[in-house]
């Protein structure tokens, strides 16, 4: 959280306290101003003004806070600190670094009234200018580079609000050397001093020139996602599913293996142990594209379910603002929000304490608007400094009872273009990732096919369609099987079921906990599919030649398809397997 705004305006006093909602009297404030509440100085935000009473949502526990205590206004909206030091850090919902809080509080519990700057103010960074004195710069333009982590060069930019659109200014001084984030590294002729640290209000999108159609996939290394339901860099996706269906594992897999430059992971109202797992795992895991530790490209925002509910409402905004900042540097950023339902519930809780008229299922009437505002901040953009960058937003949804007709899922589906439906039945039979292939969809498929066709294989789209057709046919056949049993089907249909079984077990399932299978490059995804197709073609040839179905199903080579996933040298393995399958099946007739 931003710390500079200490210019206190008129003070007020607390009139009433009810959970996270505090009403103050005589406070001179604007909407969304950050205020400090009570003798302990708890952070809060103005959410309603009516006459001389101001309603505040407080980001910390309010036990023991009494009417009559003072309320101080900072006069500034809720903002985040932006600058080097954001990566490899874990924050709470209002951008307080959790490791600093632990130090300051001297306790493993989160105490109240302790504040900390979002980025370390004392650290010195090696600043390398990329402009010279006399150069003209516009808003958002890069003036220099700082090596933030081994993976990421942090670009120091002219703050977008320092100049007007189209306005330029001349650099009058710029220096290389070690600086803290608050020291001036460059000066413009209109008097603007540029520091590495910027502030930006979280509820406001950072400016861009235009939103473009995304045409590059965010490759995730997950077969069912890359192969059947791809998301674009700059795309939006929702992962709804009942509890235990694997939302969090899917989100973690994306955070680990997606080929974005920067990952922002927002743990919104979820389990503490899950966040701890991320904190433990990520520094040790390798980024598959650079080989550096994963944390070097990651910023975590953890507001677990037992942390104050108002901070849960803000954590999603904190995350997307940080994401936009890196997008402005020209990076591809992927933001995972787990879970947006908890965020919606936080809105509901605050709304009901305000006694607002509830909409559907008690959610506030502005739920849909808030959700779409959030997802619209994702996209593939031309930035104000001329670079191109993207923010992909992937939101988990936790529908009550796994019922997708509830308001959060429905309102999300109206906005996002990729839908990965998690299925409790699949999870129950340990089919992971338990993404239902009949219900899920991706509207990016067509615009991403050219990329896959040029990077992987020119029949990528064709092969995908083949797999989808088989799976569709299986779904229909299964209905009959439910009634009469598999053996009552004609032999060719039984064989289709067998092929579909390989698709399900080898291709659609992927073991996130296996060191090799956990990440599957698109080439391997493709080769696996072609192996299954080889089996399909050869098996049908054999069937036509009069080989009984039992013999075809009973071959030794075909079950090896299930082991492709765990092979490191898959190219060789697949080659051999394909010829084995061909040979064995042809030997039957």
């Amino acid at each position: 959280m931003s710390q500079t705004a200490q210019s206190v305006r008129e003070d007020g006093v607390i009139a009433s306290v009810s959970g996270p909602v505090v009403v103050a009297r005589d406070l001179d404030a604007r909407m969304n101003d950050v205020v400090y509440v009570g003798d302990e100085g708890l952070m809060g935000e103005v959410i309603e003004i009516e006459g001389d009473t101001t309603t505040i949502q407080v980001y910390e526990e309010t036990s023991g806070i009494a009417p009559g205590e003072p309320v101080e206004n900072t006069g500034e909206p809720l903002s985040v600190d932006l600058g080097p030091g954001l990566l490899d850090t874990i924050y709470d919902g209002v951008q307080r670094p959790l490791d600093v809080l632990e130090d300051k509080m001297g306790s493993p519990y989160l105490d109240r009234g302790v504040d900390a700057p979002g980025i370390e103010l004392d650290t010195e960074w090696e600043f390398e200018p990329t402009v010279e004195e006399g150069d003209e710069v516009g808003r958002g333009d890069e003036v220099g580079i700082v090596e933030e982590t081994v993976t990421i060069d942090h670009k120091v930019m002219v703050p977008p609000d320092a100049l007007d659109e189209g306005e330029t200014a001349e650099i009058v001084s710029v220096e290389s050397g070690s600086f803290t984030v608050e020291e001036t590294v460059a000066e413009l002729d209109n008097g603007v001093e540029i520091q590495m640290r910027q502030e930006w209000p979280v509820r406001e999108a950072r400016p861009t020139v235009e939103k473009k159609t995304p045409r590059t996939p965010l490759v995730s290394g997950q077969r069912i996602l890359d192969g059947l339901f791809p998301i674009a860099k700059g795309g939006t996706a929702a992962i709804p599913g009942p509890f235990g269906s694997g939302k969090t594992v899917t989100q973690h897999q994306l955070a680990k293996y997606a080929d974005a430059d920067i990952i922002i992971y927002v743990g919104c109202g979820e389990r503490g142990n899950e966040m701890t797992e991320v904190i433990d795992d990520f520094p040790e895991l390798e980024d598959p594209s650079t080989g550096n530790p994963l944390m070097a490209r990651t910023s975590l925002i953890a507001n677990t379910s037992n942390m104050p509910v108002a901070a849960r409402e803000s954590c999603v905004y904190t995350g997307i603002t940080i994401a936009e900042f890196y997008r402005d540097m020209g990076y591809d950023v992927a933001l995972m929000a787990d879970s947006t339902s908890r965020w919606a519930e936080a809105m509901r809780e605050i709304s009901s304490r305000l006694e607002e008229m509830p909409g559907e299922e008690g959610y506030p009437a502005y739920l849909a608007a808030r959700l779409s505002q959030f997802y619209e901040r994702a996209g593939y953009f031309e930035n104000v400094n001329g670079t191109e960058g993207s923010v992909s937003a992937i939101g988990a949804v936790s529908p009550p009872g796994g019922d997708f007709s509830e308001p959060v899922t429905q309102n999300t589906l109206r906005i996002v273009k990729t839908f990965w439906a998690l299925d409790a039945d699949l999870a129950e039979r340990r089919h992971f990732p338990s993404i239902n292939w009949n219900e899920s969809y991706s509207l990016y498929k067509d615009q991403l096919d050219p990329w896959f066709e040029s990077e992987v294989s020119d029949d990528w789209a064709e092969k995908r369609q083949w797999a989808v057709d088989i799976l569709d046919e299986e779904a229909e056949l299964q209905e009959i099987v439910q009634l009469v049993g598999k053996d009552a089907l004609p032999e060719d249909q039984q064989l289709t079921l067998e092929v579909a079984r390989y698709l399900r077990e080898a291709y659609l399932q992927q073991n996130a906990f296996h060191p090799v299978d956990t990440y599957c490059p698109p080439e391997k995804t493709y080769l696996m599919l072609t192996t299954i197709e080889t089996f399909h073609d050869e098996a049908f040839d054999a069937l036509e030649a009069g080989v009984p179905i039992e013999e075809i199903v009973d071959t030794d080579s075909a079950p090896q398809i299930n082991r492709i996933g765990v092979q490191e040298d898959y190219v060789e393995y697949v080659d051999e397997l394909k010829s084995e399958i061909t040979e064995e099946l042809r030997s039957l007739y």
Binding site: Y109, N273, E277
Partner: protein, 475 residues
């Protein structure tokens, strides 16, 4: 301390009083009735001049002349190691006739959230001696794993079995000398009979001396139920993180707790969420469940097994639903399996332990653990599916492969799950039974097990039984 005789409204569990000083939110209140009875309550809403108080013991006997005292502090739990072996009421007062409790500390019952950065990831296995849990849904230290049950099911027996048998395999390095096991039992609105069963079992097995029991019975005030689990967890945190105990917390029945929340919500005329439960129930439950865990640099751990009875055996009801989203898995007690006489009647298919993957395997349990459990899940699920089909077409219409799966499902229930409430099975034994069952299936079907483990553990003779028979007849 100022006394007020300014009660303006009494409604359900709530009392409204006028005050002329600042009263803190959540502060503790004492109300003395005309009969001289002292009732305790808590400030729910505090505004200029008026406070809303929820009274734990219920509001009967309070009139407008009752006097109200504000104690100037939030609710505290007196904690000490001497609590072990004691039986307390739902508000933490001894009811076992023993001596008064001399607290070492008084801790705020609304525990602060553990900083996720300070947590230690739970990955040490707790052996419960129950195959359905150890083998298929392993519990680890610091986990919260609820039992989803319904009325009339033997969830209490299962909980007792776990409390009795749970043990933590000692660390080999010999450092962990002081980590003892303790059970804290929090009863919310259970019947006196159920309570007696628990107490008898505690006394019979001598478990009481390493336990603390909090009893809020069905006829105790409902509002008190909202503080009982907080008392329990405050005690648990103290024993775990300051006295190095491995604490197992059993909370029963969370459904009664949620009913109490709803009652208070209704009395306050709040906008209700789903099925009348308050919109903040997720946050409220999370504040309880998230108090399980481990902390870096502290020896002990808090592991929670909350029990809840699902109204109508429906897991989409808000109580199990919200619980499932917070806890790290769930164990289902299944009425069908119960009526078949399985003990414990755990249905492993919908059950899940999210922390299992990190708590098992080489060096933790056994190298083949994950593969065996995966394969058994898949095989049992397939057998279950086939049972539906058998009902329609009969067993003869199914292939030999299908029949093997059906047999597998039957034997899995009879031999693996149905172990009895008194049997304590070591993990080795659980896994060995698992291999015995898996060996009914042909090797090629074991596609989730590493080939190496098949080599080591697969019982060749078991699966070849029919084959050899077949061969023999062929000869």
């Amino acid at each position: 301390m100022k006394e007020y005789q300014t009660i303006t409204e009494i409604s359900g569990p709530l009392v409204f009083a006028e005050v002329d000083e600042a009263i803190g939110y959540d502060e503790i209140v004492e109300i003395e009735t005309a009969q001289g009875e002292t009732l305790r309550g808590q400030v729910l809403e505090s505004s200029d001049g008026v406070v809303a108080i929820q009274v734990f013991e219920g509001t009967s006997g309070i009139d407008q002349h009752a006097s109200v005292r504000f104690l100037g502090e939030t609710m505290k739990m007196p904690v000490t190691e001497d609590l072990l072996g004691r039986v307390l009421d739902g508000s933490g007062r001894p009811i076992d006739g023993g001596p008064d409790i001399v607290p070492e500390e008084r801790q705020d019952i609304v525990g602060a959230a553990i900083n996720p950065y300070s947590r230690e990831y739970p990955e040490e296995f707790i052996e419960t001696g129950v195959s359905a849990i150890d083998g298929m849904n392993t519990l680890v230290r610091g986990q919260k794993l609820p039992i989803f049950s319904s009325s009339g099911q033997p969830h209490s027996e299962l909980a007792m079995q776990i409390a009795r048998q749970a043990s933590v395999p000692e660390e080999e390095d010999g450092e962990g000398e002081g980590s003892e096991f303790a059970v804290i039992f929090g009863a919310m609105g259970i019947t006196a009979e159920e309570a007696n069963e628990f107490m008898e079992d505690f006394e019979r097995t001598g478990a009481l001396e390493r336990s603390v029991v909090f009893m809020n019975l069905a006829d105790d005030p409902a509002v008190e139920r909202t503080v009982t689990p907080r008392m329990v967890l405050t005690t648990a945190e103290y024993l775990a993180f300051e006295k190095d105990y491995h604490v197992l917390v059993i909370l029963t029945d969370m459904t009664n707790y949620c009913e109490a929340l709803r009652e208070i919500g209704a009395a306050r005329e709040e906008v209700p969420g789903r099925r009348g439960y308050p919109g903040y129930m997720y946050t409220d439950l999370a504040q309880l469940y998230e108090r399980a865990g481990r902390i870096q640099g502290r020896e002990g751990s808090v592991t929670q097994i909350p029990i809840l009875t699902m109204p109508g055996d429906d897991d989409t009801h808000p109580i199990p639903d919200l619980t499932g989203y917070i806890t790290e898995g769930q164990i289902y007690v299944d009425p069908d399996l119960n009526s078949q006489g399985l003990q414990p009647p755990v249905n492993v298919l919908p059950s899940l332990s999210r922390l299992m993957d990190d708590g098992i395997g080489e060096g933790l349990t056994r190298e083949d653990h994950a593969d065996v459990s995966d394969q058994m899940y898949a095989a049992y699920a397939e057998g279950e599916d086939l049972r539906d089909l058998v009902n329609i077409v009969g067993r003869e219409a199914l292939s030999e492969r299908d029949n093997k799966y059906l047999d597998f499902a039957d034997r899995f229930e009879a031999e693996f799950i149905d172990q009895g409430f008194e049997t304590n099975r070591a993990l080795e034994e659980t896994l060995d039974i698992g291999w015995e069952l898996l060996s009914m299936l042909p090797k090629e079907e074991l596609n989730r097990v590493d080939e190496e483990f098949i080599e080591t553990y697969y019982h060749e003779d078991a699966s070849d039984a029919d084959n050899t028979e077949a061969e023999a007849t062929a000869d």
